[in-house]
C-alpha cells in the first residue's frame, strides 16, 4: 500500500513538472481519465470556436488557459486547437476503451448549456468517446465539491467523470486555490501546485504572483487538469437617453468607480429624468457581502470602504478618507471621511465598521475572497467559533479602524474595495447567521449615492438621490428597478418598451435582442469568468 502511494506521488510530481510525452504519459490509477493523453484527446476533440460562433452566437471567447487575457497569463500555452485526428491518435495510444461511457454533469439550467452538452457529445462521439450528460439539481455542493478522504489515491466521493462549470474570480488566486492539498474533489494532489498556491497567496508582490500564475497555468495546460472552454463576457446595455459622462466601464459584477453620481438621463415623454433598470428585488434585498456588486440596486444604495478601478484594482478610499498598510502587510488601517451619514441621516461611525466586519466574518454567505481576508484577522478563529466575545485584531480609535492580521493576505485592499458596511443600529439582536432574514432587507438604509424610496416587492423599487452624498448629489432624478433579471424574457420586453435604460447581463441569449433595438447600446466587457470542464481522475463510484 505504501509502495503504491509512493508510486502515485512520484508520478503526480513528475506529471506536474514536466511536459507530457508519449514516454511519460500514463494513467496514475485504474481510471483511464487519469491518463493525460485521454484528457488531451478530449481537449483536441472539441471545436470551441465553432461552438462559440453557433451556440453562443459569437457572445463567448474561446479560452486558452484559465486566466483571462492579461499580464498574468503566459502567452505560450497550448491552445489545443480542434484536431480530431490527433485526438483519435492519442486515444489509441492510451488504449481507450470505446465501450466506456462518460458521465458528464452540469448545473446550469439554460438552453445554451443543454445545447453545449449536445455539441460536446457529438464532438466526443466523433473521436470514439461515448458520453451521456445530466443536469445536477438540488444540493449541488454535495454532488460536486466533496473532497476525498485520501487526496492522493482517492477514491473520489463524486460520481461523475466530467463536470461542466465555471470559475468567476474576484481575485486571480481563486482560479487556483482549490489546488491546495486536499481541496480538489476530482484531481489527485499535485505537490508543486500546493507550493505555488501558497506562493501566490503569501505575497503582495505582483511579480512574484505573476511567476506563480505562469507556472500554474503551464502545469494545468500541459497536463490538462482542467479544460478551459470559453471566457464569458459581460454585456452592459444602455439606452440613448443615458449619458455616463465619461465614467468608465468595468466589471459590473463588482464595485468600481462607475461615477454613477455624475450620470445624466434625458427626460422621458413626461419630462421626468427617470432611469429604468432591471433586476429589482423580488422578495428581499440581498446582503451586499454575498455577491458584492452583482445587484445594481445594491450598488446604487451602498458605498464601499475603498474604491476600485474598472478592472478592480484598488485606487483609493471611498468612505475612507485615507488608508495605510504596514510594511510587513500585517496591519491595515483606514480613517473614515468626516460627516458621512446613512440615508436616514444618522452618522456613519467606526462602530458601524467594527460591527460590520465582525458580522461579515460570521455571516456564512460572505464572498469567499472577503471572508478569506477577514478570517486572517487576529483572533478570528476563536471569534467565529464563539470562544471569544471580541475580535482581538480589530480596533477603532476615533474615526480610524485598524485590523491586525496573523498572516499576510494579498487581497486586503481588494476586499475592502468591495466591502459595504451596514448600519449596526438596524440589526440589534440579529444573529449574524440569520442576517439575510432580518427585516432590514425589505427596505435597506444605505450609504451610497441613491437611497431606496419605495419598495413593492416583485413589482418595482424606486431610488432617489441622496442629497448629502459625500461625492455630491446624483443628477438622475429617480431610478425605477423592475424585477426582471438576466436570462428572463421580460428583460427584453421591458427594454423594448423603453423600461430598461441601463443594466447588464452575462446571458449570451439576451444580447442579440438587445443589440437589435436601435436605441440601445450594448458594450461587451471582459471579466474574469471562465467556463470549463473538470475531469475526475480518481477511481470513483458511479451514479
Amino acid at each position: 500500500m505504501q509502495m503504491k502511494k509512493l508510486i502515485a506521488l512520484g508520478l503526480a510530481a513528475l506529471m506536474s513538472t514536466t511536459a507530457i510525452s508519449g514516454a511519460t504519459a500514463q494513467p496514475i490509477n485504474e481510471n483511464p481519465l487519469s491518463d493525460p493523453r485521454v484528457r488531451q484527446a478530449i481537449a483536441y476533440a472539441i471545436d470551441m470556436p465553432t461552438i462559440a460562433e453557433t451556440i453562443f452566437e459569437g457572445a463567448a471567447v474561446p479560452a486558452v488557459g484559465l486566466l483571462p487575457d492579461g499580464p498574468n497569463k503566459p502567452t505560450d500555452l497550448n491552445p489545443y486547437a480542434y484536431d480530431p485526428d490527433k485526438a483519435r491518435a492519442l486515444l489509441a495510444e492510451a488504449g481507450w476503451d470505446s465501450s466506456r461511457e462518460l458521465d458528464v454533469v452540469y448545473y446550469y439550467a439554460d438552453q445554451a448549456t443543454a445545447d453545449l452538452m449536445a455539441a460536446l457529445q457529438a464532438y466526443l462521439a466523433d473521436v470514439g468517446i461515448t458520453m451521456n450528460y445530466r443536469l445536477l439539481e438540488g444540493d449541488i455542493g454535495s454532488q460536486i465539491s466533496v473532497v476525498p478522504d485520501d487526496p492522493v489515491n482517492g477514491p473520489s466521493k463524486v460520481t461523475w467523470d466530467i463536470l461542466y462549470g465555471a470559475r468567476a474570480a474576484l481575485a486571480l488566486q481563486e482560479y487556483f486555490n482549490r489546488y491546495a492539498y486536499g481541496l480538489k474533489p476530482m484531481i489527485p494532489n499535485i505537490p508543486r501546485m500546493n507550493e505555488l498556491v501558497t506562493k501566490v497567496n503569501g505575497t503582495v508582490d505582483p511579480e512574484v504572483q505573476r511567476e506563480g500564475y505562469f507556472e500554474m497555468e503551464h502545469i494545468i495546460n500541459e497536463n490538462v487538469y482542467q479544460i478551459p472552454l470559453y471566457y464569458q463576457q459581460l454585456y452592459t446595455y444602455e439606452s440613448d437617453r443615458l449619458h455616463r459622462n465619461d465614467a468608465p466601464y468595468g466589471n459590473e459584477q463588482y464595485n468600481y468607480n462607475w461615477g454613477v453620481e455624475n450620470w445624466t438621463i434625458d427626460p422621458d415623454a413626461n419630462g421626468a429624468g427617470i432611469l429604468y433598470t432591471n433586476a429589482g428585488p423580488a422578495q428581499f434585498f440581498e446582503v451586499p457581502w454575498q455577491n458584492l456588486g452583482i445587484w445594481v440596486h445594491n450598488k446604487f444604495a451602498f458605498d464601499t470602504v475603498l474604491e476600485a478601478d474598472p478592472v478592480l484594482t484598488p485606487i483609493g478610499g471611498e468612505m475612507a478618507e485615507s488608508y495605510e498598510v504596514s510594511e510587513d502587510g500585517l496591519t491595515f488601517s483606514f480613517t473614515l471621511k468626516d460627516g458621512l451619514t446613512w440615508h436616514d441621516g444618522t452618522p456613519i461611525t467606526a462602530d458601524d465598521m467594527l460591527w460590520s466586519i465582525k458580522t461579515a466574518l460570521k455571516f456564512p454567505l460572505t464572498h469567499p475572497v472577503l471572508q478569506s481576508t477577514l478570517k486572517k484577522i487576529d483572533g478570528a478563529e476563536a471569534f467565529v467559533a464563539g470562544e471569544a466575545e471580541e475580535l482581538t485584531g480589530l480596533s477603532a480609535d476615533g474615526n480610524t479602524v485598524t485590523l491586525k492580521f496573523t498572516t499576510l493576505d494579498p487581497n486586503v485592499l481588494l476586499s475592502f474595495s468591495q466591502f459595504a458596511p451596514l448600519p449596526a443600529a438596524q440589526f440589534e439582536g440579529v444573529d449574524p447567521l440569520n442576517l439575510q432574514q432580518a427585516p432590514f432587507w425589505q427596505k435597506p438604509i444605505g450609504s451610497g449615492p441613491f437611497m431606496i424610496q419605495d419598495v413593492v416587492m416583485n413589482d418595482y423599487t424606486t431610488l432617489v438621490p441622496f442629497a448629502d452624498y459625500h461625492k455630491g448629489a446624483p443628477k438622475i432624478e429617480q431610478i425605477i428597478a423592475r424585477p426582471s433579471g438576466d436570462n428572463d424574457g421580460n428583460l427584453l420586453v421591458n427594454a423594448t418598451a423603453g423600461k430598461a435604460d441601463f443594466g447588464y447581463t452575462k446571458v449570451a441569449g439576451d444580447v442579440p435582442g438587445l443589440e437589435g433595438l436601435d436605441f440601445m447600446n450594448v458594450h461587451p466587457i471582459d471579466i474574469p469568468y471562465t467556463r470549463m470542464l473538470w475531469i475526475n481522475q480518481f477511481p470513483h463510484p458511479t451514479n
Binding site: Y107, L136, E137, G138, D139, I140, G141, I144, S145, G165, A166, R167, A168, E174, N177, R178, L183, A282, Q283, F284, N291, K362, P364, L365, H367, P368, Q371, V384, D431, L433, N434, Q436, Q437, A438, P439, W441, Q442, Q453, D454, V456, M457, N458, D459, Y460, T462, Q478, I480, R482, P483, S484, N490, V493, N494, T496, A497, K499
Partner: protein
C-alpha cells in the same frame, strides 16, 4: 342542508392535513434545500462547509422532515404562518401583499369569462348549425387549445409594444394611487387569462344548453305557448346552468392559486409568481402555506358547487 354543510366543513380539516402532509413529503423528495439554493454553484467550492452547515441548522433545516412538518403545522393551527426561510419575511405579510394582486386579476377574468362564456354558449346553442355557431365553435376550440403564454406574448407584442395602448407588465408604478391608475396594467393579463376560461365556459354552456333544449319539458313549455326567449332562458338555461356552475366552481381556486403562467408573462406580482419563486428556492414554509390555501380553495369550491347545484337543480338532495 345545514347538517350536510357542517359535516363537510368538519371533513375539510383532516383532508387538508393529509393533503398538506403529502405535499410536504413531495417537497422532501426533491433534492437540496433552501440553503443549497442560496449559494451560487460556481462559488460552492470556496465556501466554508462548517459555516454553511451552521446556517442550515439555524434555519431548522437539519431536523427530520416530520419534525419540521409538525412544527409548521402546529404553528399554523395557532395562527402563525411562520417566516420565509430565504428572506425572513413573515408569510402572513407575503400573503397579504401578493394575494390581493392575484384576486384582482383572477376575479376580473372569472367574472368576464363567466358572463361572456355563458352568453356565447347560449347563442351558439340557439343557432346550432349556423355560421355563427361554427365560428364560435372554432374560436372556442382555439381558445382551449392554444397555450395562454402564447396569447400573452401576442397581446404584449400587439397591444403594448406595437400599439402602445397598455404597459408591458407589472401591476403598478410609483405615481399610481387608485385602482383607476392601475387599470391599464390589469387589462392585458386579465383579458388573456379570460380567453381560455371563456372558451371553456362557452363550450360547456353550449353543450349543456343543447342537451337541455332536447328534453321533454322544453317541448312541454313550447306546447303551452310560452314565448321562445322564456323557454330558452328560464327553462332551458336554468337546467343547462348546473354543469356550468360546476365548471365555474372548480375554477374558483384560480382566485387563490393564481395563474402562474400569466403572472410570469405579465410580471404580475401575485401569489402564483411567489409560489414559483418559493418552489425554485425550496422555501418550504412559503410553499406549504400557499399550497394549503390552494387546497382549502379547492375543498371549499367543491362544497360551494354542491350547495349551488342543490339550489339550482331541485332533483339534487344534499346528504341523501
Amino acid at each position: 342542508m345545514l347538517t350536510y354543510i357542517i359535516r363537510r366543513v368538519l371533513i375539510l380539516i383532516p383532508m387538508a392535513f393529509v393533503i398538506c402532509f403529502l405535499v410536504y413529503c413531495g417537497l422532501e423528495l426533491t433534492p437540496g434545500d433552501a440553503v443549497s439554493h442560496m449559494i451560487n454553484p460556481d462559488a460552492l467550492g470556496s465556501m466554508d462547509p462548517a459555516q454553511i452547515e451552521a446556517l442550515r441548522q439555524s434555519l431548522g433545516l437539519g431536523q427530520p422532515f416530520y419534525v419540521r412538518f409538525w412544527s409548521w403545522f402546529s404553528n399554523l393551527i395557532q395562527g402563525n404562518f411562520g417566516f420565509s426561510t430565504n428572506g425572513g419575511v413573515p408569510i402572513a405579510n407575503i400573503i397579504a401583499t401578493r394575494l390581493p394582486a392575484t384576486l384582482e386579476l383572477a376575479s376580473v377574468a372569472l367574472i368576464f369569462s363567466t358572463v361572456i362564456g355563458c352568453l356565447l354558449g347560449i347563442l351558439s346553442a340557439l343557432s346550432r348549425g349556423s355560421k355563427a355557431d361554427g365560428a364560435l365553435t372554432v374560436v372556442g376550440m382555439l381558445g382551449v387549445s392554444i397555450p395562454e403564454f402564447f396569447f400573452g406574448l401576442v397581446a404584449i407584442l400587439v397591444f403594448a409594444l406595437n400599439l402602445g395602448w397598455f404597459p408591458v407588465g407589472g401591476r403598478s408604478m410609483p405615481s399610481y394611487v387608485t385602482l383607476w391608475d392601475r387599470l391599464p396594467h390589469l387589462v392585458l393579463p386579465s383579458m388573456v387569462l379570460s380567453i381560455m376560461l371563456t372558451a371553456g365556459v362557452m363550450r360547456y354552456a353550449r353543450s349543456s344548453m343543447l342537451d337541455a333544449l332536447s328534453r321533454d319539458f322544453i317541448k312541454t313549455a313550447r306546447s303551452k305557448g310560452l314565448p321562445e326567449w322564456r323557454v330558452n332562458l328560464l327553462h332551458g338555461f336554468r337546467v343547462a346552468l348546473t354543469p356550468v356552475v360546476v365548471l365555474i366552481g372548480f375554477r374558483l381556486p384560480v382566485l387563490i392559486g393564481g395563474s402562474v403562467i400569466i403572472e410570469q408573462v405579465f410580471q404580475w406580482p401575485g401569489i402564483g409568481n411567489e409560489f414559483i419563486s418559493a418552489v425554485r428556492s425550496q422555501d418550504y414554509p412559503v410553499v406549504m402555506t400557499i399550497a394549503l390555501l390552494s387546497v382549502m380553495a379547492v375543498l371549499v369550491a367543491s362544497l360551494i358547487v354542491d350547495v349551488l347545484t342543490a339550489l339550482i337543480d331541485p332533483r339534487v338532495r344534499l346528504g341523501e
